[in-house]
């Protein structure tokens, strides 16, 4: 039976009196890739930070594998991985040292750490530079190190914030394959992205966030039915729902003029 691995109920975040995320209710099941979409400033990163325990919600709850992230953070975090959009790493550690550190933090048994680290370094093409300090790595290389570190402890839930930014096409493709393989094995994948093509091709379901509220969720097909324009791309549906279609109209009018 498909179990719910990410669940939020009335998740709200306010900075002072200003609500940034408003009563978010969503569920992501085992084996599902969920695309989290929304215009800039919609509250996507704040939501992810609450799901990962980086921020305490003002109201509501977030459950990861049935563990409340606020009340049982250690259990929830040990089953989860997070790939941020800006990979902040220890500049003075090498990639290999970093993977060993993450393994220790996530309590990966010592007898498998070395083998798994080498496999992941190899998978992401990092082996040749694995002993160089991370401060000398490019953005894309750092992103690969973060991805490798996110996989080393066999997470049941993986949250990714704009994961393909800075990756070359080959690495982006590899990432998509890895995420699909994880979902196939029963993990829940939560991806926040602006690249709607990725969401359309890869995600089983998507949720659209606007001004802190989830305005739509479902499979791309369900969203098409909801908007009433069948056959349109996810980009058109997104623009329709978020009000960005005005810009599309404007651009269209240029061609006509």
């Amino acid at each position: 039976m498909e179990s719910v691995l990410i669940k939020t109920h009335g998740l709200t975040k306010r900075y002072g009196a200003v609500p940034v995320v408003k009563g978010l209710d969503l569920e992501v099941k085992s084996g599902e890739i969920f695309g989290f979409l929304g215009p800039n400033g919609a509250g996507k990163t704040t939501t992810i930070k609450m799901l990962t325990g980086l921020l305490d919600p003002s109201e509501g709850e977030a459950l990861i594998c049935n563990y409340d992230i606020s009340k049982q953070p250690t259990q929830a975090k040990s089953l989860m991985a997070y790939v941020p959009d800006q990979p902040k790493l220890y500049g003075k550690l090498s990639a290999r040292e970093f993977l060993y550190l993450i393994s220790a933090l996530y309590r990966v048994p010592k007898n498998v750490v070395k083998e798994r680290a080498e496999q992941l370094l190899n998978l992401f093409g990092l082996q040749e530079r694995a002993d160089e300090l991370l401060e000398g790595y490019s953005h894309g290389m750092r992103q690969k190190v973060v991805l490798a570190s996110a996989l080393i402890h066999q997470p049941k839930v993986i949250l990714l914030d704009e994961p393909t930014v800075g990756l070359d096409p080959g690495s982006a493709r590899l990432l998509k394959d890895v995420l699909q393989e994880m979902a196939r094995q029963g993990a829940a994948v939560f991806v926040s992205t602006h690249i709607l093509e990725i969401a359309e091709r890869m995600c089983h379901r998507v949720g659209i966030l606007k001004d802190g509220s989830l305005i739509a969720q479902g499979s791309p097909e369900e969203l098409r039915q909801k908007v009433g324009h069948e056959g349109e791309s996810l980009e058109d549906i997104f623009l329709e729902l978020t009000g960005g279609h005005e810009n599309a109209e404007l651009i269209k009018s240029l061609g006509e003029g």
Binding site: K13, R14, Y15, G16, A17, V18, V20, G41, T45, K49, T52, G53, L54, L55, D56, Y67, P73, T74, Q75, K77, S78, L79, Y82, P84, Q86, K88, L89, Y90, G91, K92, L93, E97, L101, I102, A104, L105, Y106, R107, R116, L123, L133, E135, G136, L151, H153, Q154, P155, K156, L174, V178, E181, M182, Q185, G186, A187, N247, L250, S253, L254, G257
Partner: protein, 615 residues
Amino acid sequence: MKILLPPPLESPPPEQSFWQNFLLLLGNQLRVSWNKLRHRPVGALMGMAGLLIGAIAIIASLGIYAYGSLKALSPNTVQGFLSMLFMVGLGAQIFFGITGAFVALYMSDDLELLFMAPVPIKAVFAVKSLVIIGSNFLTVVLFAFLPGLFCGLLFKAGVSFYILVLLVGLGLWAIGTAIAELINLLVMRIIPPHRSKEAIGFIGALAGIIIAISFQLPNMLINSRNKFDIGSWLEQQKQMLSVMKFFPWGWGSSALVAGVSQNFLGGLAWSLLILLVGILLFLVAFNLVEKGFRRGFISLSQGERGKRRKAQAEEGSGKLQKAPSLAFLMQDVVSPSSPWLGMWAVAKKDLLSMKRDTREWFGYLVPLIIMLFFVGQFLFSSVKTSGSTLMTVLIMYTIMFSGNMALQSFGREGESDWLLNSVPLAGWPVVWGKLLAAILPTLVLMEALLVGTALAIGVSKTLIIALVVGAVFLALGSSSIGLFYSINNCRYNPDTPQQRIAPGASLFMYLINLFFILLLALGLTYLFLPSELVFALRDLPAVTYEGGLRSGLFYGIYLLSRPLLWSTAWRVFLGVIVTGGIWAAMFFGFMAATVRQSRKGFRVEIIAGRKKRSR
């Protein structure tokens, strides 16, 4: 390639104790610190060793001086002295602790990563707190442990006394660090994350000035040895010292004085009190910082604050939103505006950047401090300097300072150098814009300093006007040299964004500026006749060229000195030609060379750590 991934975990791995997590994180922190030290350039390590030797020398000299002065004093006076030292130490701990806490908590890149890991947040903050405590180690050694040790040696105390020194030292250490963490909590709230590096630069510069001033202490003490006696001064401050007993630094001194007076239990009570207060304050600070981060009181990463969002939301709701229009994209081609506007845009961009980056302001503080030093020496020192010497120093400084400020110009572009290279402004609009931005704040400051100093030391009005006009030309000439070296040798290091020039180029710029001053001085000598020199020249026998470099040199100088004996009209005429010619040749020559380079394109060299990053 087939991807082989181990299946996801079904249940969380067994939990680790707080202690295990703490040791793991501490081990990681130590590894990072070790790697940092290991990959530091040898030059930097040698510099650190030099600084350490200097600091030890100063501590030793101050210690010997204080130790000698206190030998003849009663324990009560020593108590006052210790109170003072502990108080200063606590102040220093708070100041440096704020910097340490700011770097360890607010500027740390690993907090997000560690908060995500399945380790208790308290373990993360325990390690971070240890780092902050470590940043106060030297201060507490200097201002708590060493004075206690000296006190024990002075009064030949027993071994048990040093237990009190340890307790008092630890207590003061905990109090200083806790207060620093608490103040830092407010600082982190006030300063937005994107300005954190700027803030740390500002605090660092302030610390640098304090350290530079404290390095003058031994010299000041040596100079005033006959006038200043710590013992008698302390005797006069009895009332102030008695108030100190109500504060932790007073408790610390009471504990140590009780210790040397064979009242160990009394000393133990005071030292335990101070330690308990320290632990309590530290726990409060620890919990508040942890809660602050967890509840979003302090942002972990860059982003808008609630306040700003609110303001924007209100702004948006108050105004009628205009429908966006892209019609401008279809307009006919319009003629480009004047390049003067482009020049002003470049200057304005730099001026705004200087105004908005507080680290830039410290560059302008240096001449202020130097001026204060010289004016103070002129007005109050027993070793009198003449007014003309003071003005010469300021003019020399105007030239060097202008050159140095212009030297920063192109490096300021940092990673955005592509912009000025890609806009259709390359050449004189960019270079003159840069010159304007470099020279405007410099001129305002240096003119104010020159006029202020000239008025303070009573220089005539005519001379003040001459100085004001002269300073403009000198600053322009010097800045053009600075700009030329800047465009050819600019660099940018994200870790030290204020170092924008290759050190060799900086040295060359100073040498060329000195040469510029030397040549200008020749022309100015023709204009403002030095009577002593003329008197000496009249008695000088005729010099002839007899071959060789030395003779050539003497003959050259002889020829150059001849116009000093000409009639006033011819001499002044030649003076104007020489001074104007040299200034124009240097200024327009260097500007033309910089414009030529701007047209070819300039590149800011990016330095990351030890490695040069190519783009």
